[in-house]
Amino acid sequence: MTRLRLILPLLALAALVAGVPIQPAVAQEPYPSRPISLVVPFPPGGVADLTARPVAAAVEKALKQPVGVVNKTGAAGAVGMQFVATSKPDGYTLLLALSSISIIPEADKLFGRPPAFTVDQFAPVALISADPTILAVRTESAWKTAKEFIEDAKKRPNQISYSSSGIYGTLHMAMELLSHGAGIKLRHVPYAGAGPALTALLGGHVDALASGPSVVLPQIKAGKLRALAGWGDKRVASLPDIPTFKELGYPEAEFYIWAGLFAPKGTPEPVLAKLREAARAGVADPEFKAAMDRLQTPIAFKQGEEFRKFFEADARRLADGVRKVGRVEQK
């Protein structure tokens, strides 16, 4: 084959590639007129994914356009979140984010790297659920109440270990908030995800775990784990005897693994309004309620100003927490 035959077409292809941008041109139609993507930055089968699917179905009913769940995983959610932060603010790309959305940019700042995205790049639409985290230990362990646990931790600093889903992850930050609030020092063993963190506790390799209730409830019912206290504002419905850390006198230990709907900043206000309406209608839908019941996830709907206040307070708490944790390696 002669060089020329191939070089010319190759150059033509290269020119084509160079000439066309990746972002498409703008279209003007009433919203919504095309299918919508709900980006879930976590792998299928996880808490975020399982929450997103009923949400997508409910919003689809309200907006009368197909809403498809797209899993864009990676970097503890950063990949999917960055993707939505940089996509066109036309209301066709939405994000279902967990509370880690406030943590990741702080962690980036901590390490001095340009943040993958910032919280300002999103326009909050609505809060869907807010799972209070609970503190779980094995039934064989000596601590029967949260008080005993904290006192023991005070007597033996850095001896009691706990697992988490990853450093600066939601389960880690929950424990850190408690540690700072109660003045105790615990030993942190990060794992790659909530599943391995639970396995580690069950296997006796760590002493405690902060976890969303849906994951540990079956184990508690089976008598393998014991819940000591919760990080929520109120007690968990399925565990009415378990006090909250607030009740026990540690108000800084407030943490929720919440799931919220976001759109890229700059999405036109009428579109946002329609989305909020759709979210409100969706959350009231009986099928949605049934789905969330099966998942043991309580619905905690907030939108507009209420959500923004909740979100900002939560973000501030988490940012503080991340800064206090600092860079682990420098200790």
Binding site: T73, A78, R187, P190, P196, T199, G203, V328
Partner: protein, 509 residues
């Protein structure tokens, strides 16, 4: 025992219902398709079809998902053998000897042995699952970071047995693989390593892009421009099935692969790809003709393929007995259960006997179905090799791109595969083996995490590795292995190993 049989009877009564059979069949077919397509592995298949199962009953859903998982394991060997592209990461070892067998005209035999080995392994491991699930699960839970570290260290030793040819060259490739595994977010400290601002690299380069690139794309690059197109001996119908000698050679590897794979599969978190690597190494070590490995040794296909399949059943042990996800795929299946209102946990077996036993019974049925699906298809698949290579290789590239893209929907993965392809091509020309790179890339993040977690647990004391019984035993075993081999290495000399490379050098294929 009587109770088990009773339960099994219950299970079969569930599994043989027409609707359950139908969903098992649908799952197996989809799984085979998914497995046959390069790069699109069982995880992708299950995740994508998870939403489709929301409308089904819990039993049907889980039976279908398990069918997809198994089917993908069966189907993954097909592209490995026919085109040297790993159907999923765990089929990498089959690429080596399976493809060599295909080149010798024994593609049908290789496919048949892979199918039968998978069937035997699948069935036997389901029996083990059925009888031993709860006690095995409790044992598996005792594997913490120190035990993982010891186990994975043993896995690294396996590398020594994978190599033919220069030990230094295989080791250096393994170290290269280990370094590639360092890319990504450091789980213990939160630092991004070698990611150059690309968030997509946060979880590492990815085993699928690396494997597909190093094997599939590199193969295309090396073969496409050949002066004489690769000649494929077109087998007659009779020659499609394995010969008596080949059957004999595959019996023990299948047995060993089954046991090994199941044990490795039970341990939560361990990658199944390791089971096929370990099986390959064991077979090579125990074989009377180790020089055949790399050139089409039957044991090199039978062992890893069986190990693969029984690791799949092994992975269900912690999932069903404890409600604990032992990897991403069981995690998705647990999620499917949760969505249907079945709360997974230690009480699952007792509270939902129809589900558990129906699931077990449908796995028997599924294995049978897959064997029935795959064996006759051997003839069809072999005909793929008749397609002129000039048309075949562009299709291969296309499938590789789709497979790699499908994992995360990310073009970055496609680029990684392409760069690995170029690297694999150059390494082949320079006479280096590429399989150790894949093993290294898989093991590196796991070993490092296990070591640092162990040290975090013990606050920096290395004694934790010896004070815990399981890890102490594993390490002692490893040390004994190393000593034994050093001695025999000195005694026997390196002669025969130097003469037999794992992979062909150059282009005389």
């Amino acid at each position: 025992m009587a109770e088990t049989l009773q339960n099994l009877a219950l299970g079969f009564s569930v599994a043989l219902q027409p609707s359950v059979l139908l969903y098992a069949f649908v799952g197996c077919v989809i799984g085979t398709l998914v497995g046959v397509l390069p790069g699109v592995g069982p995880l992708a298949g299950i995740s994508l079809l998870l939403p489709a199962t929301f409308g089904l009953t819990a039993t049907n859903a889980i039976v279908m998902l398990a069918g997809i998982y198994y089917g993908a394991m069966y189907g993954g060997s097909t592209t490995s053998i026919l085109m040297r592209i790993p159907g999923e990461a765990a089929s990498v070892m089959t690429c080596i000897d399976g493809y060599a067998m295909a080149r010798k005209g024994r593609a049908g035999a290789a496919l048949a042995i892979a199918a039968i080995g998978s069937f035997v392994a699948g069935t036997v491991s389901v029996i083990a699952l059925m009888l031993l699930a709860p006690p095995l699960a409790s044992f598996a839970l005792r594997f913490g970071p120190p035990e993982y570290f010891a186990l994975l260290l043993l896995g690294l030793l396996v590398l020594a047995y994978m190599s033919g040819g220069s030990m230094a060259k295989s080791l250096v490739m393994a170290v290269l693989g280990l370094l590639l595994g360092m890319v990504g977010i450091d789980q213990m400290s939160g630092y991004f390593r070698f990611a150059y601002g690309l968030v997509e690299l946060g979880d590492g380069l990815g085993v699928v892009p690396i494997a597909v690139g190093l094997f599939g794309i590199a193969e295309v690059l090396a073969t496409a421009g050949q002066e004489v197109p690769p000649t494929v001996l077109k087998p007659k119908l009779r020659e499609l099935l394995p010969s008596r000698a080949e059957w004999r050679d595959s019996v023990m590897p299948i047995g060993r692969g089954t046991g090994l794979g199941f044990l490795i599969g039970i341990i939560p978190g361990s990658a199944h790809i390791i089971s096929s690597f370990v099986s390959y190494a064991v077979e090579r070590r125990l074989s009377r003709h180790p020089e055949e490995f790399g050139k089409g040794a039957v044991a090199g296909v039978a062992g890893p393929e069986s190990a693969n399949n029984s690791a799949t059943s092994g992975a269900f042990v912690p999932m069903l007995a404890l409600g604990v996800p032992s990897g991403p795929i069981p995690a998705v299946m647990l999620a499917a259960l949760m969505v249907h209102g079945v709360s997974p946990g230690p009480l699952l077996i007792t509270q939902q006997p129809e589900l558990f036993w129906g699931f077990i019974a449908s796995m028997y049925v599924g294995n049978l179905m897959l064997l029935a699906l795959n064996l006759p298809m051997v003839g069809i698949f072999v005909n793929v090799l008749r397609i002129p290579y000039s048309l075949l290789y562009p299709s291969i590239i296309m499938f590789c791109v789709v497979g790699v893209y499908a994992v995360n929907g990310s073009v970055v993965d496609v680029w990684i595969a392409l760069i690995m392809g170029a690297l694999g091509y150059i390494l082949r020309k320079l006479g280096f083996e590429t399989a150790p790179i894949v093993l290294g890339a898989v093991l590196a993040p796991m070993i490092e995490l296990a070591l640092r977690q162990s040290l975090a647990m013990s606050d920096g004391r290395y004694s934790i590795f010896v004070s815990r019984p399981i890890s102490g035993t594993l390490l002692a075993f490893g040390a004994a292995l190393v000593l034994f081999n050093l001695v025999s290495w000195v005694v026997r000399g390196l002669d025969w190993r130097r003469r037999i490379p794992l992979d062909e050098k150059g282009e005389n294929l």
